[in-house]
Symmetry: C2
Subunit: 250 residues, 2 copies
């Protein structure tokens, strides 16, 4: 039996997230079909975490446990040829048997993109949230810094989550600009349900002058969801990096 890690990427526009769901088009469901076809003798296909409907992944990692003896080099092309255009397999790596795409993880990075100009950008319709009003970027930077560190993030999750342990560590939370495109890059130990989109919504509220950017720490400590900003739309969000523990780097 071999343990293989696939580095994939997907445009999430047409999917109900990664995780398989009955009767819905998901990345996992679509990928499993291709894996079954190309790598017969596969016993499991496990992703590195759930993603919401419509969220993209520039990189995403998937463990495949299989009896197939196809050479590593051939796997990316063979799988990609059997996948729709909006999913691709970049790389296949041989891994130790105890590799787990979620538990062997060190940190995960998401990027939330905002197109901040009065009129839309035709190239970013699917990949950035359009905010036509000018924002205060300095206030956004300040608000972003308020999320750094280890906190109880229970006020940064959407209702309906049954997560009991809500303590997470945010290592980086930084706003960068490329002209009118704002990118909020957030790297953390893990994220609660909708947490990145709520953090982005809070940072944006500060940019729009509707919230004191210095208040983030206090609000976090207070733990009230209603004090945070709105959950921003899914299409602006993409998983952009994952780091793994030593010995488990794909």
């Amino acid at each position: 039996m071999r343990t293989i890690c696939l580095t994939i990427g997907f445009d999430g526009t047409e999917y109900h997230g990664y995780q398989i769901q009955r009767g819905k088009r998901t990345v996992q469901g679509t990928l499993q079909q291709a894996v079954r076809l190309v790598l017969p003798g596969t016993v499991s296909v496990t992703g590195c975490g759930r993603t919401d409907a419509g969220v993209h992944a520039q990189v995403y990692y998937v463990r495949v446990v299989t009896q197939s003896e196809m050479p590593l080099r051939k796997i990316p092309l063979a799988l990609t040829a059997n996948l729709p255009d909006d999913i691709t397999v970049y790389r296949a790596s041989e891994m130790p048997a105890d590799f787990h795409p979620r538990y062997s993880m060190q940190s995960k990075e998401y990027t939330y993109r905002i197109w901040n100009r009065r009129t839309r950008n035709p190239f970013l319709l699917r990949y950035a949230y359009h905010v036509p009003r000018a924002v205060n970027r300095e206030a956004m930077r300040l608000a972003a810094r308020g999320f750094l560190g280890t906190h109880d993030f229970r006020c940064c999750q959407s209702a309906g989550s049954d997560q009991e342990d809500t303590v997470r560590t945010i290592y980086e939370c930084e706003l960068t600009e490329r002209g009118d495109l704002l990118e909020l890059r957030i790297r953390g130990s893990g994220f609660l349900y909708n947490m990145v989109r709520i953090i982005a919504g809070t940072v944006l509220e500060a940019g729009l002058g509707r919230m004191d950017p210095a208040a983030v720490a206090t609000i976090l400590a207070g733990g009230e969801r209603a004090q945070m900003g709105p959950t921003l739309p899914a299409h602006g969000l993409a998983m952009t990096a994952v780091t793994y523990k030593e010995g488990f780097v794909p």
Copy 2:
């Protein structure tokens, strides 16, 4: 009468180029309809040059001569609201009456994008040409430098062009890399029919080891189209900048 310059952008995938053509969907045709609606009393809509079918423009400039008195500030949003998603008007500027989007131009910049990894990138399907084979980037850089300067570029145009003066100046021709994405940025005084796509094709031939990158200057002097590389596909190409002469900067 007012002379207005519109800064626009368009995803060219669904268009037969900028220039209006009977019975075909063009950017100019689509834009003129919106202008007629939003700015009544418009006498002309003139673009800054032809673009091939399928070519994109991150920026493109259009002169509108009109009797409409709509305030400048309102024009971008009013026009964009009346355009399909793949065209946007970023800005409207008041210009001197002798401004011409083509003749007042100083230089034009195009960028040709190549995705150079074995499997496709789902986010760049429409915006980069996929070259799965590894290329020699140093050879590409060297070949690119061969196009710099003032030359007779008659070997860099497609058959069917009736252009008599084929001398042009290339100010910059540079390959940059962002991981597996290669970008060939070409800035010149002007370009012949398919010239950028032929230059990109020649640079790529050098990268694939099918042409001596040092031979570009000799081949240019020889003037034979067949000695140059192929015309690369349109979807990898985008107009990325235009500079205008003093007094005519929109």
